[in-house]
Assembly symmetry: C2
């Protein structure tokens, strides 16, 4: 069963009542982060029930030795994993002599709130301990957006029915493990534990990758809101540092601990300076004080929401869903560091290793591009540009030559680290997403300079790959691409995946188009690039031959492109005729049965029509939608958004809305029964697209024109969203009766709305 | 580079000179066994160099937790592994105070001999120890065929240049590991260590499977060949028992230890009786004495060779090769226990888990059937019959119904335990081999009663599988079988593998043929089987519809059946045009590249034509041979034999001979650079077929007729082989000029030779 315990609220994720069954799911849903670090909503105090601990630092990973059955030539040696980092939130609590553990106390008034507007996590409850003491706890924490190495906790305990002693034992612990460790190994080595006055620090390093991380804390106390001094005794263990403070309270009094913590890493500091840097951070935080840090946090989030918010009226669950998606996307990636990227689970879990997938280019770039400064999307492109060398090496390992590049399926540092052959070696369509990301960026920003300076090199390497990867079929008298896995991973090692072949052809054509443009308009750069890549006209001629003669499987009778050769040999039984007891098929069926079935995990031919909507007539899209949608099980989180957008584009609003709900509340309602492992961050960008590109019908065309075709689901009163379009802020409002555009920028904006040209003067509201 | 150090000899495998590089390869090649247990040729004394220890007991396995990257639904929980069993051969040696270790001594006159005629392993060498003592060692050991739980060692040391003390420390050690353990776990738990007078025993059990095994030893000593008494001190460790005996020797004297050892297991005894049984075995062995045991061993092997030997004149390497193959096959499986089977590496290594593969039915049955009593082949069939329930369960796990069975790809107890989806779930052609094994057996033995009593149930369950596994293609208007892996594992998840489709159709047809025959001739049995399997005429009608309308990919232009749909889309570059540096492709190319290439790992379409040669005209076979042979890389040990046989059948003797050499000396010359991991036992049965069915052209047709078409490679003077045909012993001799048949049996034999009917009276020699 899906979960259904999150209380609808416009700006917050709220849980009321304590249910041990929901602890791990809530740990995912209530995660906090600031793009540089993140933290699952684990309790500060001890908890003896089932819990999945997770603290993460962007860019700090471990190359866990690959686990496979039978080794195949070319497999990567390791799978890079985002690391569960040293615990900074821990505060062990004793009431008189009894340890506070929600698993053994009688709990009432339990409430958890993730305040998305202001960026903090709150928790409150009443507990009666086994020894009879009753307490009331209010805890609040956040990870600062402004001071991006700092987290802060305010943890208050009211002595309801007793006078006595409350012991706070804030600690740091580097003795942590990854749940998904392949061989149950430790990933961290503790190097140094340093004590100060009310402050402490653990320096640890990751094994193999040798990242050094200092985790620092400093604490402060109050009774009834008034600061008090407190002294501690320290317990230094092999991998942990604990300070124990005992505070006397009378019945009715409230004791509070403030814990300020910081991660600093060798990504940003000299290794020798880390302890000092950590101490500096926590001392500054303590000096600012919790209240000031908290105010800064509210301000930071207010700024973020200004250009990112989507308001939905008349459907509070939809409102909560979209804001949760936008909130988590911002918690995962802020775009200020080109070394970081967007892991499919962000900082909310371990699965998928926290690594970079094609999700970034195919799903996430539009969101970050349209809600933030153009530099953010550019940083995402630069991430791949900086890894081009590794992508070329990766292709070499697979037998490609002459600077051909195959970007990895999964990576931390540019090296491939996924180890299922049918994905790693065969899901090569990802290479197309790399070029599409550039295309998308250039259309949106009109920053063609990026292509000139960086992008073209990537595109050349990828076109080389496609040219070499295709082969001439004597039978078909066309070029074919054999042995691939398309976006629909419920097919493996197939021939002539429509999506892959289409992208291959398009990549070559777009590369040649850019080459020609650069040759003409940037002759110096053209020379530089040609020299650097050793490119000849003869070579590009060969590419074009492949692109011009690419084969696409097509059925004349049905007039549809086939997902792959032989697709129509399958038994085509619509998903609706599958017994419920057999779904999701990935949990009920063996892999071979899935593979030979007609069921589609995620948009594949339709993914192509979504990316290149301008290349297909509406009736073509309709025909393909009607053929493939009934066979699609959407067991990938990345599928419903694409179907939602395409459905809107062919005026199937009920279907668009159905698929929207599935993507928007995927985690909140736990559609896939796996939210305890973490949230589906990258699919959240798809949710954003479902509103803006789906209902809003926003497109940016190759000629740079921005267009809208706003529609609204029957279930909503109105919705509005904001676009940062080449530095101009545009708000779009759509209700059942109205459609308004508000241009907040300094200059007039020219748009297409419902195929009509519209010009909106600066700072004007226009009703269309 | 291939290895080339084995000295050619008609009856022995000989190594001269000590080379640390060859130690592990020799440990495989010089392995000994008796079908119930086996032992790699590890040294008795300590050896600090690289070595791969292996002692194995038939039927004793461990379910090692599966290791995969991403778990797929339906994967088996474990991979059953043949276990490295407690060490029984160990004798630590000290000369005065110095340990004997060939890795640190100066070695000369090193010689190793595996005497295949008599079934023993000998080793001799001179060693100068680091402390200066010079010794001459002669060691001999064997695993008794007659007393099949017993092994015996004679180990003599001559004091060449000193008088002093020789310490013999015979030991048993249950603290052993499997090299291929997935998670470096111990598979054994030591339960009890028992001491006696010059005898000792360790009782240990396998974890999870709870097999109990007692390993017992008893020792005896001689000086200059005369028995002497000796007393020991014992060292009892957690998992090992060592007795230390010190013998005084004068210069020139020889001290000898006899070590008799025994494995007894809970497969054959009550757990409580194992220690007693082990002691009984070793005491009886000691009382018989090494010399008598050794004589028994020679006698046993003489009997085996009587009906199994193949004599080749004029090519000593070919002679050595074929005898090595026959010897190892007999060491692996004697056919007396229907619970045992033939692991691809027999008792010579760990790889492939010592489990049962389709190799047994597709390759091994003919050898055991024609060189041993018919009960042996029947035991192999009964092994599968007894596992039918598990095969039905296995199919259920994959979504099949109504008693359909899918036999496992790899098994110890009937449960599937292989965990690569492309093999486990998709290499379903193995199901066809199960039926083919029955067909083969019935043709050869004319024992149709087996079908009535057992075989038909297996065939019904398998026909059900094929019926359910095929689906109707609306496009092709025929039945297709999608998503399979054929015998050529260099293709995965393909559609309409010719071999698989052909076997599916044939299985149904043969089942229906047997059903009809049984209905007519054994009406009571028919009723019983129909009731037991709940079979209806309506169901068989559906099977027949599938068989009658099965699709086979075929190219009109080339007039060849295609290995699978789309095969001709590949670039067809013959193997001979592949640079040597890129071979073997499974070590040089990544998996995706192999998959999309045209290269064939092992006979596939040709495998079908080999199994059903009578169904294809010679010119059809020629055409397919000429199409597929140039694309075949033979990177499976099971491939060359099939090509050799087919080549002979179409009069391509040079090609047949080339492929014969490859199969016959695969391990001796280490073609695949992996003999150190163990020998390719099951492919050895293919070598036997290459001579008997290939050069000898032996066939047994559906009507029960035995036929020959003897040819001889230009390189040989003559060859001869023996066939046990329905209890009649027939010797076939072929030279460049002569072809003779000698009927050793009590009644006349009717054969077809070169398509002519020949009758050979009892005990007569006939020249044809």
């Amino acid at each position: 069963m899906n979960k259904n315990y999150i209380i609808p609220n416009e700006w917050a994720i709220i849980e009321e009542g304590f249910n041990v069954e929901n602890v791990e799911a809530s740990e995912s849903l209530f995660s906090i982060g600031n793009g540089s670090m993140g933290q699952r909503a684990n309790f500060e105090e001890d908890y003896s029930g089932k819990t999945f601990q997770g603290s993460y630092i962007g860019g700090i990973y471990y190359p866990d030795k690959t686990r496979v059955g039978w080794w195949k030539n070319g497999y990567p040696e390791y799978f890079a994993k985002v690391l569960n980092a040293p615990n900074w939130i821990g505060i062990r609590i004793q009431i008189n002599a009894t340890n506070l553990d929600l698993n053994v106390c009688k709990i009432s008034n339990f409430r958890r709130e993730l305040n998305m507007k202001e960026g903090w996590l709150g928790r409150s409850f009443k507990a009666i301990l086994p020894t009879g003491e009753e307490i009331e706890v209010h805890a609040k924490r956040f990870i600062s957006v402004k001071y991006n190495e700092v987290g802060a906790i305010e943890y208050s305990i009211k002595a309801v029915n007793f006078s006595g002693e409350i012991t706070f034992s804030p600690y740091l612990d580097a003795g942590i493990e990854n749940e998904d460790s392949n061989y149950n190994e430790y990933f961290w080595e503790t190097l140094k534990i340093v004590e100060g006055v009310n402050q402490g620090c653990i320096l640890a390093k990751t094994l193999k990758t040798e990242f050094h991380v200092a985790t620092a804390m400093e604490v402060d106390f109050a009774i009834n809101g008034k600061n008090v001094a407190a002294t501690h005794i320290s317990i230094i263990e092999e991998k942990a540092l604990t300070y124990t403070y005992k505070l006397k309270v009378s019945q009715g009094e409230t004791a509070t601990i403030y814990k300020f913590a910081s991660y600093v890493s060798s990504l940003n500091y000299e290794k020798g300076n880390l302890i000092e840097a950590g101490f500096k951070n926590v001392t500054e935080a303590k000096n600012l004080g919790f209240a000031q840090l908290f105010q800064d946090q509210k301000d930071s989030w207010a700024t973020i929401w200004e250009t990112a918010d989507i308001i939905i009226e008349g459907d509070i669950k939809a409102q909560q869903g979209i804001r949760f998606n936008i909130f988590q996307l911002n918690q995962t990636y802020m775009g200020t560091d080109a070394r970081l990227n967007i892991g499919p689970k962000g900082f909310t879990g371990e699965k998928y290793g926290g690594s970079t997938y094609w999700d970034t280019e195919a799903y996430c770039i539009p969101f970050y591009m349209a809600t933030k400064d153009a530099s953010v999307a550019k940083n995402l492109l630069m991430y791949r540009y900086n890894q081009l060398g590794k992508a070329i090496e990766n292709a070499q390992k697979l037998g490609f030559k002459n600077g051909a590049a195959l970007y990895p399926m999964v990576t931390m540092n540019g090296e491939e680290c996924h180890n299922e052959w049918e994905i790693t070696f065969e899901e090569i369509h990802r290479n197309g997403a790399m070029v599409y990301g550039i295309y998308n960026y250039v259309n949106f920003t009109q920053d063609f300079e990026y292509v000139v300076k960086n992008g073209l090199e990537v595109m050349i390497a990828i076109s080389r790959f496609w040219h070499q990867r295709a082969n001439w079929s004597e039978v078909k008298k066309q070029f074919v691409i054999l042995g691939v896995t398309g976006p629909n991973e419920y097919e493996n090692n197939i021939n002539n995946n429509f999506y892959t072949n289409y992208l291959a052809k398009w990549c070559i054509e777009y590369t040649v188009e850019c080459l020609n443009k650069i040759e003409e308009k940037y002759p110096q750069d053209f020379k530089r690039i040609v020299a650097k890549t050793n490119l000849s006209g003869e070579e590009t001629y060969k590419w074009i031959k492949v692109a011009d003669n690419m084969y696409f499987p097509f059925d004349e009778e049905k007039q549809v492109f086939l997902q792959q050769d032989g697709f129509l040999d399958k038994e085509l039984i619509p998903v609706k005729d599958l017994p419920k007891s057999e779904r999701p098929i990935n949990q009920k069926w063996s892999w071979d049965r899935i593979l030979r079935s007609c069921y589609i995990k995620q948009a594949d031919v339709l993914q192509g029509m979504f990316l290149f909507e301008d290349k297909f007539d509406k009736e073509v899209v309709e025909r393909h939608f009607d053929f493939y949608e009934p066979l699609t099980v959407h067991e990938s989180s990345l599928s419903p958004c694409v179907h939602s957008i395409l459905a809107a584009s062919i005026d199937r609003m009920p279907k668009a809305y159905e698929q929207y709900l599935r993507t928007a509340r995927l985690d909140l309602d736990d559609y896939n029964h796996e939210v305890h492992e973490g949230c589906h961050i990258t699919s959240m960008a798809g949710t954003w697209m479902s509103v803006v590109q789906g209902f809003g019908g926003m497109r940016v065309w190759e000629n740079g024109v921005l267009s809208f075709n706003p529609q609204i689901p029957a279930e909503w009163k109105s919705y509005s969203f904001t676009i940062n379009f080449r530095g101009n802020v545009l708000k779009v409002y759509k209700s059942q009766t109205d459609c308004k555009f508000y241009n907040e920028s300094e200059k007039e904006l020219k748009l297409m709305v419902n195929n009509m040209e519209v010009i909106i003067p600066s700072n004007q509201l226009l009703t269309v």
